[in-house]
């Protein structure tokens, strides 16, 4: 038993350390007065002040949040429709096509997705005059497409686990399929919907490569601004930005864990 008692736990602890040490360092150094990483110049919040006084970052953050919210919402609707089709409507004729396409964006290298979507948008613009030019619309369309894949995977898993008897009971009692879907299915999978919307939102907020391809002049998203700054070297205000994002995600994670524990307690009691 030594393997599972000592070797693996030690290796796993190292793995968790590997996962969290860089994040911890980012947070610590966001409060460093000095601009150099190896020098600790004392505690300071000056990088946060600088961050909030940088109009370029603030504008890009606002734009990114708008794009993330709209693309995640489209992705949620499309992803749920795709998941319902794959799990419940086995007779759908396009099912094999959908099944093949829905998971592919998860592993497709981003440079290919970005380039191919850009070329599509340029071609569509030439033929139909829509979408005219590139900017927020094209980024939203692109992000909705890959966000949908993540939504479909999460919701599919949840739908498979779901107790079918609930839906059958509602139908036996005379509810129409659409009513069943909105009053039984959706409330049951609500946590998965929240989780997948948030994931689509974060992925959109984080995407550099696809957005760089399909964006136009004047629509620089937050990752694009961050990337151009980071390429020139370390900039401590980016540490401050990272810390704020980690704080938000961390709080979300704690909240999610607490919710999950509460729901399992309720179920077992």
């Amino acid at each position: 038993m030594r393997l599972s008692r000592y070797v693996f736990p030690v290796m796993a602890s190292l793995g968790f350390g590997f996962l969290y040490l860089p994040i911890l360092i980012l947070v610590i150094y966001s409060f460093n007065e000095s601009k150099l990483v190896t020098v600790w110049g004392g505690f300071s919040t000056r990088w946060y002040v600088e961050l909030f006084q940088d109009p370029q970052i603030l504008d890009a953050a606002k734009l990114s949040l708008q794009i993330a919210a709209s693309s995640a919402t489209i992705a949620l609707v499309l992803g749920v429709a795709a998941a319902m089709t794959l799990v419940r409507f086995r007779w759908f004729r396009g099912r094999t096509w959908l099944a093949g396409m829905v998971a592919a964006p998860l592993v497709m290298p981003e440079v290919i997705t970005g380039l191919s979507l850009l070329l599509l948008f340029v071609a569509l613009d030439n033929w139909l005059g829509w979408p005219s030019g590139r900017g927020v619309t094209t980024i939203v369309l692109a992000h909705a497409t890959f966000g949908m894949a993540f939504v479909a995977v999460i919701v599919q898993a949840r739908l498979r686990d779901m107790d079918l008897t609930l839906e059958e009971a509602a139908m036996d009692l005379g509810a129409r399929p659409l009513t069943v879907f909105f009053t039984v299915t959706l409330p049951t999978i609500a946590p998965a919907l929240v989780a997948s919307w948030l994931l689509a939102f974060t992925l959109s907020l984080d995407d550099l490569v696809i957005a760089s391809f399909v964006s136009g002049p004047g629509s620089s998203t937050l990752p694009m601004v961050v990337f151009s700054k980071v390429r020139l070297g370390i900039s401590p205000d980016i540490n401050a930005l990272a810390t704020l994002m980690i704080l938000i995600v961390g709080l979300g994670g704690v909240f999610g864990f607490w919710q999950m524990r509460r729901s399992t307690h309720r179920r077992s009691s």
């Binding site: 793995g15 969290y20 795709a82 592993v107 290298p109 380039l115 949908m148 994931l199 984080d206 550099l208």
Partner: protein
């Protein structure tokens, strides 16, 4: 009655056709467009390529330019970039597997609520900015960075190690960012493992290592393959990690495509690079698809 049934099936069809058509338009057709442009000639205009089909006085002229592909074959830069990408992705995948397997094992054998907590700890970094997590490694790995500072302070090295802007930094970056993709499928297959088989093998006198190698590992191979492919395939085309952590001589195909497109503005060559990259990843992709459908069947 029949009309109502028809209406219902229409409603259902509509729910199914919208996502299918969406993916057809925004995922499948774009590849056709890429293929088309990879066969056209570059020019200085907007968009910077010449049309493939032209209607000239009643004659449909189709011009397929294979020059882009010939150029890719001719210039050794591209061939070695593809090979380098596959090599770097492979080494990084092995890195990720070695780090991820013990983590998945510990999570799968933990009791609730520790199990949920540990799972959450694996997933959580995936939700924070990928770009910023890659950036964090610059401060650690650079010549006057934290790692060298620590090692020199401990007296382990006298000269700073050059890690940033080498392939090693790229391996670390890929393993670090893709770790959740490896751990989750591994966890899924480890948690389904029948523990009585391990007890049986130990009752029969096998040492823990022997039962791990002969029982646990073979039974979790589907998880190992699924996790490895989920890391390997996207890593081949990775751009951000080699751009930030790799050196100028770190030749990865994602970076080459990016430069052809943004620096040289040669859309046809960039398209040809993408088409060949698709051929490189289509094999592993189909393998992954087969494993997924097998797992799906096993769940039904």
């Amino acid at each position: 009655m029949r009309l109502i049934a028809k209406f219902k099936s229409l409603q259902r069809d509509w729910v199914s056709w919208v996502p299918t058509l969406w993916l057809g338009i925004f995922f499948l057709i774009p590849f056709v467009v890429v293929l088309k442009i990879s066969l056209s000639q570059a020019t200085i205009a907007m968009p910077p390529y010449l049309p493939l089909f032209e209607w000239l006085e009643g004659i449909l002229e189709i011009r397929l330019d294979f020059g882009n592909y010939l150029f890719l074959i001719d210039d050794p830069l591209y061939g070695s970039a593809y090979l380098e990408s596959v090599r770097i992705a492979l080494v990084s995948t092995i890195f990720t597997l070695v780090i991820g397997y013990p983590m998945a094992y510990v999570i799968a054998t933990a009791k609730e609520p520790r199990r949920t907590l540990l799972l959450l700890l694996v997933i959580l970094p995936f939700w924070t900015s990928f770009l910023l997590r890659v950036y964090a490694w610059i401060a650690i790995l650079k010549t006057n960075g934290l790692l060298n500072g620590l090692l020199m302070a401990l007296g382990l090295i006298s000269e700073p190690l050059v890690v940033l802007q080498t392939d090693l930094a790229v391996y670390i970056g890929i393993a670090y960012t893709y770790l959740p993709f490896m751990v989750l499928p591994l966890y899924a297959s480890l948690s389904k493992l029948d523990r009585t088989l391990l007890e049986a093998s130990e009752d029969l006198g096998a040492t823990p290592w022997i039962s791990f190698v002969t029982v646990t590992l073979p039974l979790t191979i589907p998880g190992v393959i699924a996790g490895s492919l989920l890391v390997f395939v996207p890593a081949i085309g990775e751009f951000v990690i080699p751009a930030l952590l790799g050196g100028n001589d770190t030749l990865m195909i994602g970076k080459v495509l990016w430069n052809e497109f943004f620096a040289n503005r040669d859309w046809p060559i960039a398209s040809a690079v993408a088409i060949i990259m698709l051929f490189v990843i289509v094999g592993p992709l189909m393998w992954l698809n087969r494993i997924n459908s097998k797992i799906e069947e096993a769940q039904l």
